[in-house]
Symmetry: C3
Subunit: 503 residues, 3 copies
């Protein structure tokens, strides 16, 4: 082991003091060797790491921390990893036999893609929780659902125009990786080796990985594990500060289908965050309400370990993320109680479709959490609210929120009944693909965009522009009216088809 | 009165030094008793308050400040309030007889909802100014306008599908509270009492308040007063810093109908704010141009007391907010001179409709300010501009802005003439509700969204994306063309109806 | 020359220490005289300048800096300018004979509009580079392109309704200045003189300038030069910090046609910027990767001089801005290799239209850079990427990006083929203006908004919401389907017209 002082002599290694006296910090020989080259070849990576907690504390010191301030959740960490900081080798050389992309690199067995299973060496609890998260299964939840595959194809499929129709064929891999699977995660696969002529070290062999690069939340890794910790804890800073700020979530939650960031940024909580967060402490563990922050960010409600001023735990840390969520407000096609299993591809509604609700609004009850579990989750969410709001406030907010779930579901039922008549009248084709015609897209607008937006704004903001004019009730109503207008025009000029329609 | 040192002993009360030596700060016995429990029960609230100016200076000290730095505008504050900081009791026990939600709580008469009339004990001038603000009347301005009620119903009403039509019935209370009235303010009403089993103190009685929670700008309070200071000065921080940042205004001014925040954020002023505001002083009173800030925020132009480097007053503080506004650029359906009275429900256009303009563009002249008053307000707005721009710049900007008011009004006149033909031809129904059909929604798009966006971008940014491609002239033109296309198609295939149409 | 200490006595001049000991700073007599009045008349301007680098270092000291830290690129600066800081007179009195707006003002020859040619006295390299930028030619590139003029008219033209059609006449000057030419730049022209009664100095004569105010990137100045440095280096702060932050670019790059800012803000790079930039150094020249910043802003990739930790140059500073850009992803109507000349009005496609691509997708090859130049630019862009990403990451990203260029171009080919059939069938009129009917606007939606958004999100973010649901592939597909639906309806009910249509 080289002492860090060696590197300090090289003049490229200025360590900030984080919790530990510099004398205690040592770096493994392997990592040190990595840095010898990569500090020049990839200075941005090395610098990020140097400023990170990983570069500034060894597991044995991190494990000495007792109580809620402890960040290493594993009870046992291999002895050979305890004494040095967590450097390049400690992650990229973990469990080499498990990774299909392991390759020989200057005498070491290196793998490119670090997986949650690698991270679980020190952070086992987070890994275990995260595996119960819908996000961990985001690849299969999309790729293994035949109906969602039709939706996917109708959006990103390669288009052809033929006989007055637009046909959406399968999407190519590059488009998939950049579109849906950018967030959901790609399925990684080693497809060969290649020799690259590197500037620093001449010709070297590297694995060729299909689906790379990707940091999606449900990435299927080369050791078979699911997820990517760097989706939120950006490599190689691994920053808790960054993960706690709403910008991180924005990366996948800003579009009209899940406008969580937009809604938050326009809410009172988001206003307080924007105006005041420069004086908050985003690194404190545990995170003290009122002292470290004065309004919730995404992480406050969904992830972080919160304590009050008396250091009593208000919310336990969770990386499962849905265990404070009674409802899944992302409509498919209606909002519904949260699925029981993180693998949603197993769900079948009463009509046999792989959907949590039927087109008539019936929920696929045996696959979803029951009212008792909903109540537990509601209470666990509200525990945080009650630190700044009295119970009448919280109750009032929640009643409006659940009313909105019912009302928006009601509106989608109307939109779907119009769509049903359109299919029944033969004005659009349900069988081939229920999502690939103009009027079908208008129908998906209603539940993918507008009902979702209203529910997010209700849940996270208690109302405001996104409930009304900003992709909210105004647009939901408008789309329903336009669907109706579309059908009426066709019924008028092509009445033969409308015999089967009741409305 | 307990001295604050008592609380310091409890270890929950770490006061920052704000203007006054700690020795002078005392807290009333009543507030102290509140905090004894609520510091545990609602630590977020108590912490916010502790960090606020209210917790750190007593009115007698605040009133000793002379000149523009003075924040307490009331000349007389009751003696019993002068000597202690403004704590829980000082607000929630003000004027108990006036509040319908006053209830007995541990021997005190408490009310839940603090109103502007309570705040006016110390801030009488702000209360008086605010009462002249359209915002103070935002509840009635919407709820008491029969035409706006039709618009409201056409957006948030409970929908039914019947005989090929979508019928919008009245909206339910929960939806109303979360939609329009989230910003406009709800009408609060005590509808009963309830017993809650509190963790801290066992069973307690509380009032049940309909319309709660709400912080809308025109909230109808339980003492009959109008408005909510915490709409901008977020409870319980009462922060001038927060109110001066544009994020506060964003909460209600980000949607496509009033995209003030979006337009600002994309303007040169917004650019300077975003890039440089971390070094500005948002707490200074008065606020010095160039020294405390280098570009306007919303508050600079519309609210704050501004001085130049010579400490000469550039703009007086106002909470009326429209007294620097010659034009109301929010079209109903055309932009128009600002209404004279904050109560706009009294306005009638020449056709007897409760609108500031007629559908043919004629303004309801006797209800709106006259050109002389417009000129006064223009000058009072431009006083701030002239500190960083020479008069030719300001004049050029203003000419373009007023040209844009005329041109967008002209475009809306065309959109409305198409709509008129559609009604006249019987292709849509004007009488029942002029806003509840697909083509009518496209018409409201033109004046609610696109013309407004153009005018806001012209006024606040002098141009840019929001004037053209971002819900601007592109979309306005497109919507007009689509209305025309819609009518032409129907005229072609249902010519019988188009006899009455002149175009 | 008055010593700065004189002004300090006036109490209005508190200089921060920037690089130079205060004793060395002197201000010219002329500038000092300007400030004597304008510190009162325009305190915001004077204060911004006082805080700027221009007010705190004289050219002779700036020129003494060797190597990449040097900011004055001119090798020779006139002797009379070397010894004093760059004040009012040094810019507004530069080359008086060259400026049509030069006027006599208190004994000095002053011009209102400072141009890049004035700035080039000290910053000649930046001026030269910028003149090769498409942006410098943004006025003529729009105003001298007959086809773009039709597009412009179809958006901002003065509308009339006549015989069932909406006619877009020419736009008025004020609308033009506020719309397209707000960003593109106006053509300035002195149209007279006027006497103004100034508060500070009684009656004074000033030039009247048409097209003023404007800070557009391609402004045609009164000395015939093109551009406005203050578009990014906001007057009178001239801040490198501001220009390096993405908010500056947002001013013209936020709309759906070029949603660069939105895409960036939702990307991983944007996330890192938002969460971490408060600790970055935006003033350092050169700009060190990993030390001064940890993720790129717009300036990092497109403009700034970057070095690595060993102070080796990674990217040379450029104000040409397209010399790291192989592709122009802004479709007209297809994405294409970058134009060779900054003057794009000379481009003709194979059909003689002033477009870089034909409607069938063929590129105007002789006016665009060749694959070799594309390769050079690609490498020069990727040089920055490789500091934080290994070459397989960068290659994978680039392959997806170029795939997306091809796929989106393919989608636009389909949209255009539908549009072609619509024109051919006589359902819309190609000749008069291909952009001024409802269905034509839907066609322009596909390439102006959706294909562009997808490409920007692919290039800058590697995917995410803007590639799919946020004006991305979802909306592109939807628009194509709606165009098809529109045509099918008309073919069905007006089949006579559809004879000539092949599809």
């Amino acid at each position: 082991m080289k002492k860090i002082s060696l590197l300090l002599c090289l003049g490229i290694f200025l360590l900030p003091a984080v919790n530990s006296p510099a004398a205690d910090i040592s770096i493994s020989e392997a990592s040190s060797e990595c840095i010898d080259c990569h500090a020049s070849v990839h200075p941005g990576i090395v610098k990020d790491w140097q400023n990170s907690r990983h570069a500034n504390i060894a597991p044995q010191d991190a494990m000495a921390v007792e109580g809620p301030a402890r960040k290493v959740s594993s009870k046992n960490v291999p002895d050979n990893l305890k004494g040095t900081v967590v450097g390049c080798a400690e992650c990229h050389m973990q469990r080499p036999e498990a990774h299909a992309d392991t390759f020989e690199h200057n005498g070491y067995e290196i793998h490119v893609v670090v997986s949650p299973k690698d991270c679980s060496t020190c952070h086992s609890q987070e890994d275990e929780q995260y595996s119960k998260n819908l996000m961990a299964n985001a690849y299969d939840n999309l790729a293994e659902n035949k109906l969602y595959q039709k939706l996917q194809r109708s959006i990103i499929g390669t288009k052809k125009r033929s006989k007055g129709r637009i046909i959406c064929g399968p999407a190519d891999e590059a488009t998939k990786a950049e579109a849906c699977y950018y967030c959901h995660g790609t399925k990684l696969k080693v497809v060969g080796q290649e020799t690259r002529d590197t500037e620093a070290a001449g010709e070297l062999e590297f694995p060729v990985i299909e689906g790379w690069p990707n940091q999606g939340v449900g990435r299927v890794n080369l050791d078979g594990s699911l997820g990517s910790c760097s989706a939120c804890h950006t490599r190689h800073a691994f920053s808790i500060e960054m993960a706690r700020k709403p910008d991180t979530c924005k990366e996948c939650h800003v579009g009209p289908d899940v406008p969580a960031f937009k809604v938050y940024a326009a809410s009172k909580h988001g206003n307080i965050y924007s105006a005041m967060h420069k004086s908050w402490d985003f690194s404190a563990v545990p995170w003290t309400i009122g002292k470290d922050f004065t309004a919730p960010t995404c992480a406050v409600c969904h992830v972080s370990l919160l304590v009050n001023g008396d250091e009593e735990v208000v919310s336990e840390r969770t990386h499962q993320m849905n265990n404070r969520l009674p409802w899944r407000i992302f409509g498919l096609v209606y909002a519904h109680p949260h699925p029981q299993s993180p693998d949603t591809s197993i769900i079948r509604n009463k009509d046999g479709q792989p959907l949590p609700t039927s087109l008539d609004g019936t929920i696929a009850v045996e696959f979803l959490i029951d009212p008792k579990e909903q109540d537990t989750r509601r209470k666990s969410m509200q525990a945080a609210c009650l630190n700044c709001h009295d119970s009448s406030w919280v109750k009032g907010h929640w009643q409006r929120f659940e009313n909105t779930i019912q009302k928006t579901n009601g509106d989608i039922l109307i939109a779907t009944s119009i769509m049903g008549d359109i299919w029944q009248g033969g004005y659009a084709d349900l069988e081939t693909n229920p999502f690939d015609e103009a009027i079908e897209k208008k129908w998906t607008d209603t539940w993918q965009f507008y009902a979702n937006t209203i529910r997010f704004a209700s849940a996270m903001g208690g109302g405001g522009d996104y409930v009304v004019y900003a992709n909210g009730r105004y647009h939901l109503t408008q789309a329903v009216l336009e669907m109706n207008d579309w059908l009426n025009l066709r019924k008028k000029f092509d009445p033969s088809k409308s015999k089967g329609i009741k409305q």
